[in-house]
Amino acid sequence: MLLIACPWCGPRDEAEFHYGGQAHVAHPEDPAALSDEEWARYLFFRDNPKGLFAERWSHAAGCRRWFNAVRDTATNEIHAVYRAGEPRPVIT
């Protein structure tokens, strides 16, 4: 049970959140202009690194806001949380 710091509500149990996978994957501006390969990449391919990962969470049982976190998938340590639309912070 991770403790995830919602940017608004503060630290809450993981059970209150929905996971949203990789962050910063925008819906293509003009899907019709994409090749099948490019569209498949958007639909089905997401990064899956072992290490730092910028990912989306929604505080589903709380304020219902989507936000982003940088978490180390090898240790589950969350290095940063930031609001949707903000750039990914640099983790040193």
Binding site: E14, G21, L43, F44, F45, P49, F53
Partner: protein, 408 residues
């Protein structure tokens, strides 16, 4: 007080000797789990390719092969899935003899419970699909479920009553370590090098063709490289710049202490995320749902175990005072359509076998057979051809999620 019969057969006095890496091989298999070992075995046995190294970053078969709940079945919905899993099941049926190793393969049947009208529809659909594919499958009423497994609670008054179940009599369990070691010993006997504590840290790709691997024990040249790295497939394929449609998640399981026999079969309930069998020595072996967030931590969240226990006791009230002895987690690689990826990659001579999610163990001999064919011939075996990477571009998925939604 009588001692229990020593029900487990002894392992043989000779297994394998961990090999030192050579400078080059015809085929390097990355990942010394069940799939990697089975692939090596069938490369040697079926295709006469014995200049093969299996590289394992830890101890052999110490990943998901050592962490699964050992369920074997082939009653999958889609023809493509039934094809490869049924091929595997047929191989399982002759595997002890083939490998000369006691695998404790026990065809005690698997029940998949239905708890809602929608579950019933999907279950009957699957039974019918299975029959057309020659997979043994039956639909059982709650009373018939009780006959197969008398401890299942079939009262209509529980929150999610058992409305019936599919039953595959030929399904069952095996002992995972025995399976892995059986393949390992047989492969080693055919000349395959099993190299432990050898982590792959890079793939050498020249002009679109893979030429070798870099490891913590030095570079190894290879004519062909076959990935079988399960939860770590994304990481390894990433060394060659090959993206895979995978997400890695922890999956937990647990065992109880040894108990007198109470559970003669295998019961799975997707609706409440429980699967349970009683292993040969008497311990209850149970699997839980996966953690939703990506992680390579071989450890799941505790609340998932608590939920699993609540669901398990709804189905099996007699388990109340059994004890959880040990919990553990594996890392499973899951694809968008819950079906594996087995085949070629955009990099020549680099092959991929991944995305088995929670279903990898049961496929072990089948995928080893087909993947070996794919690697040996450079062409997908007909049974794994539908599981190409290409399907994500065409949209021709093999969607084993079934209907996820509860609607109307």
């Amino acid at each position: 007080m009588n001692p229990l019969p020593d029900s487990l057969p002894d392992h043989p006095d000779r297994l394998w000797r961990s090999a030192e890496p050579k400078r080059s091989y015809d085929v390097v298999i990355v990942g010394g789990g069940g799939h990697g070992l089975a692939t090596a075995y069938y490369l040697a046995k079926n295709h006469g390719i014995t200049d093969v190294a299996v590289l394992e970053r830890g101890w052999l078969a110490g990943g998901n092969m050592a962490r699964n709940t050992t369920i074997i079945r082939s009653n999958y919905l889609w023809d493509e899935s039934a094809g490869i899993y049924e091929h595997a099941l047929k191989l399982w049926e002759g595997l002890e003899e083939d490998l000369g190793y006691p695998l404790l393969f026990s065809q005690r049947g698997v029940l998949n419970l239905a708890h809602s009208l929608q579950d019933v529809r999907e279950s009957v659909r699957r039974v019918n699909a299975n029959r057309l594919n020659g997979v043994d499958a039956e639909w059982l009423t709650p009373e018939q479920v009780k006959e197969v497994c008398p401890i299942v609670e079939i009262s209509p008054d529980v929150r999610y009553p058992v409305l019936g179940a599919t039953f595959q009599p030929r399904a069952g369990i095996a002992k995972h370590d025995y399976v892995a070691w059986g393949f390992a010993r047989a492969a080693a006997d055919l000349g395959v090098d099993l190299i432990e504590h050898c982590e792959v840290t890079g793939l050498d790709v020249r002009d679109g063709r893979v030429t070798g691997v870099r490891t913590t024990r030095g570079p190894i040249a290879a004519k062909k490289v076959a990935l079988a790295a399960a939860g770590h497939s994304s990481v390894v394929a990433g060394f060659a710049g090959v993206p895979l449609p995978l997400q890695s998640h922890p999956l937990q399981a647990l065992v109880s202490e040894l108990l007198e026999p109470v559970h003669p079969t295998v019961v799975m309930s997707n609706a409440v995320h429980v699967y349970v069998s009683q292993a040969h020595k008497g311990e209850l072996v149970m699997g839980a749902g996966i953690d939703t967030a990506n992680s390579y931590r071989q450890r799941g969240a505790f609340h998932i175990i608590e939920r699993q226990m609540a669901a398990a006791l709804e189905l099996f009230p007699v388990f109340a005072r059994a004890h959880v002895l040990r919990t553990w987690g594996g890392v499973v690689d899951v694809t968008p359509d819950a079906s594996p990826v087995v085949g070629l990659t955009p990099v020549e001579d680099l092959y991929v076998n991944c995305g088995w999610g929670t279903g990898g163990f049961k496929a072990t001999p089948g995928v080893g057979w087909c993947y070996a064919h794919t690697v040996a011939t450079g062409e997908p075996h007909p049974l794994n051809a539908p599981f190409s990477l290409d399907r994500f571009t065409t949209g021709r998925l093999v969607d084993e999620h079934g209907a996820a939604a509860v609607a109307h």
